[in-house]
């Protein structure tokens, strides 16, 4: 998926001239996937930022007498086993879900983009060695290695996000590398070199800006993957630790009371699906917009 996205980016308008920007937004507005996905993502970000204003109750304190209360007047989405308001926990859970996934992707970009550009720009044996190394890592499900990391360093959102971020590096690095390989051979890069510009200027002025759009497309899809991986870790009790509100832990708690109070598992599960769907749609939409040839399919 990342490769398709990278290819998409290669055909993208490179320079950020006003006309290409307005063209980009014009196409974006006409793409239903991007608009729906973008809407969901914007809503998630809004909820995450203003969680303390939006949540009707305290997400960590519950009334034991209201344990497993069904959805109704006092609890819009019902209460969990400890009598905590499910809606408030969902709202605050947006923070660890979106924040954690953003952290994963940010870490992978901060390491992966420079690494990919560097490998492709230098080329030769170094490129070969680095590519071989991450090809091996790519063949591997990140979640499996994340289990080993958690075994070693203990559970927690920050630790699992850090581990996943590092394990995602090859995905980002590969995209940056493939863009750089193309840009390196472009006539304007050659011209810049002929004019005696240093490597720094060539990389920052010519190559890095061209990496941006494919990296953004891949990031959106990677955020979706990261959300699923983080939710899985929390579901297994290896990520966010109770009583902190998190969709994955809520789902695990909900499974234990599934027969009597399915609302706990259903609402947290649907929250995960909606959020992942949002980033998936946005990523797909952006890819269509940046590469119309693929979009027609």
């Amino acid at each position: 998926m990342a490769v398709e996205a990278a290819q998409a980016g290669l055909n993208a308008p490179a320079e950020a001239t006003p006309s290409s920007w307005s063209m980009f937004f014009w196409r974006l507005r006409r793409n239903p996937k991007a608009m729906i996905g973008g809407g969901i993502v914007a809503m998630l970000l809004f909820v995450a930022v203003f969680a303390n204003l939006l949540a009707p109750k305290d997400p960590t304190i519950g009334e034991l007498s209201d344990s497993l209360a069904p959805p109704g007047q006092s609890y819009l989405l019902g209460a969990d086993k400890s009598g905590r308001d499910v809606l408030s926990r969902l709202i605050f859970g947006t923070r660890s879900a979106v924040g954690g996934a953003l952290l994963v992707v940010l870490i992978s970009e901060l390491i992966g983009v420079p690494l990919g550009i560097w490998a492709a720009y230098r080329g030769g044996v170094l490129d070969e060695a680095v590519t071989r190394f991450w090809d091996m890592l790519l063949a591997f499900p990140p979640l499996l290695l994340a289990f080993a990391v958690v075994a070693a360093f203990g559970p927690g959102l920050f630790k699992s996000a850090l581990a996943l971020g590092i394990l995602y590096v090859p995905f980002t690095a590969r995209v940056a590398r493939s863009v750089t390989l193309v840009q390196k051979e472009m006539t304007y890069t050659e011209a810049a070199r002929a004019m005696g510009y240093g490597h720094g200027r060539i990389v920052f002025r010519h190559i890095l800006p061209n990496c941006l759009s494919p990296v953004i497309v891949v990031s959106s899809l990677d955020i979706a993957y990261a959300m699923l991986d983080l939710a899985a870790l929390s579901f297994l009790g290896l990520g966010v630790q109770p009583p902190l509100p998190d969709w994955g832990t809520m789902l695990a708690e909900g499974q234990q009371v599934l027969l009597t109070a399915p609302h706990v598992a259903l609402s947290s599960g649907l929250a995960i699906v909606l959020a992942v769907l949002g980033f998936n749609l946005l990523g797909d939409g952006l890819r269509d917009v940046l590469d119309p040839r693929q979009g027609q399919r």
Partner: protein, 315 residues
């Protein structure tokens, strides 16, 4: 063909080396004394602690421990569990059959859903069925497998009361019945991506010139789709299905935990939770090796399907 297999086998060596090294050092560089961890909070005399260190070779320098561990590994010895006082190999082999059954059933279910669905939606583009398949693929890819599991439990176990929702049963038919829901869960999750790939590979194949020719010759639509287009769409389908089979094992970890199946995945997760390092190491490396071997199998399968792979180098 033989050359292809041999070269692919050779690339496994550095890969396995990398994985074993990473896993070993990850688990051994952690702060804290593993010997103390093993006894938990229990009181213990320094002499006994020393004995444990000796028994598990924790008194040797790290490089030596690593060397001994790799040499054990090459002899098929994965060490002893800290908690269960059993060989890790025995633990893994005991748990393996259920995981393998789950993986194979799910894989078959995923193909049984994805391939027909992908073919039909490519052949009848923009029909209601195509739209439905697209929505299915999108939702399937966005739903964590453990949530799909919970939805299916709610429907098939609680509402309809058709299938059991927990445990692996007592062997034979009972085990099969217990595995149906977990396999369906994992099968649906995998089918989401395979449907998408099948559809786009078929759309690509159906727009080629030879399809026009076949139509012009007056061949039946069914034969065009199934004989001419499908064969050419097979390479991407096999690629993705093969990769899926590897990721299936990770999905199996989650599904086993949700359905309380007690397979390899549950073994790994429980070991992570109680920090039983030899088991974590052993299970991770075992799953990794399985994963790599499956990828190898897929590569060889390409050679069978696509003669170009057999003769030319792969890009």
């Amino acid at each position: 063909m033989a050359r292809l297999i041999v070269t692919r086998l050779l690339t496994l060596i550095p890969m396995m080396f990398l994985i074993t090294t990473v896993v070993f050092f990850l688990v051994h560089l952690i702060p804290g004394d593993p010997a103390r961890l093993m006894v938990g909070g229990a009181h213990i005399t320094p002499a006994n602690l020393e004995n444990i260190r000796k028994a598990y070779r924790l008194d040797r320098p790290l490089p030596e421990q690593y060397g001994l561990w790799v040499s054990d590994l090459l002899h098929g010895n994965l060490g002893k569990s800290y908690r269960q006082r059993t060989d890790v190999r025995t633990l893994i082999l005991d748990r393996l059959p259920i995981t393998m059954k789950l993986s194979v059933f799910s894989f078959i279910i995923s193909l049984a859903i994805a391939v027909p669905l992908g073919i039909i939606s490519a052949a009848r583009r923009n029909s209601w069925l195509d739209v439905g398949a697209t929505i299915f693929a999108l939702l399937g890819a966005s739903s964590p497998v453990f949530f799909t599991a919970i939805l299916l439990i709610l429907i098939f176990s609680f509402r309809l009361q058709w299938l059991p929702s927990i445990g692996a049963g007592d062997g034979g038919w009972d085990e099969f019945v217990h595995l149906l829901l977990p396999s369906l869960t994992l099968g649906i999750s995998l089918a989401a991506i395979t449907t998408r790939i099948t559809r786009s590979a078929m759309v690509e194949a159906l727009t080629q010139d030879y399809i026009e020719t076949a139509r012009a010759k007056g061949l039946a639509s069914r034969s065009i789709v199934l004989k001419h287009a499908l064969r050419n769409a097979l390479v991407p389908i096999v690629t993705v299905a093969g990769l899926q089979f590897g990721f299936l094992i990770v999905g199996a970890v989650l599904v086993e935990q949700t359905f309380g199946l007690g397979g390899l995945g549950s073994l790994l997760i429980q070991a992570v939770q109680v920090r039983d390092y030899p088991v974590v190491q052993g299970a991770t490396i075992f799953i990794a090796a399985l994963f790599i071997l499956i990828n190898l199998g897929v590569d060889v399968l390409y050679g069978v399907i696509d003669p170009r792979v057999r003769y030319g180098g792969r890009a």
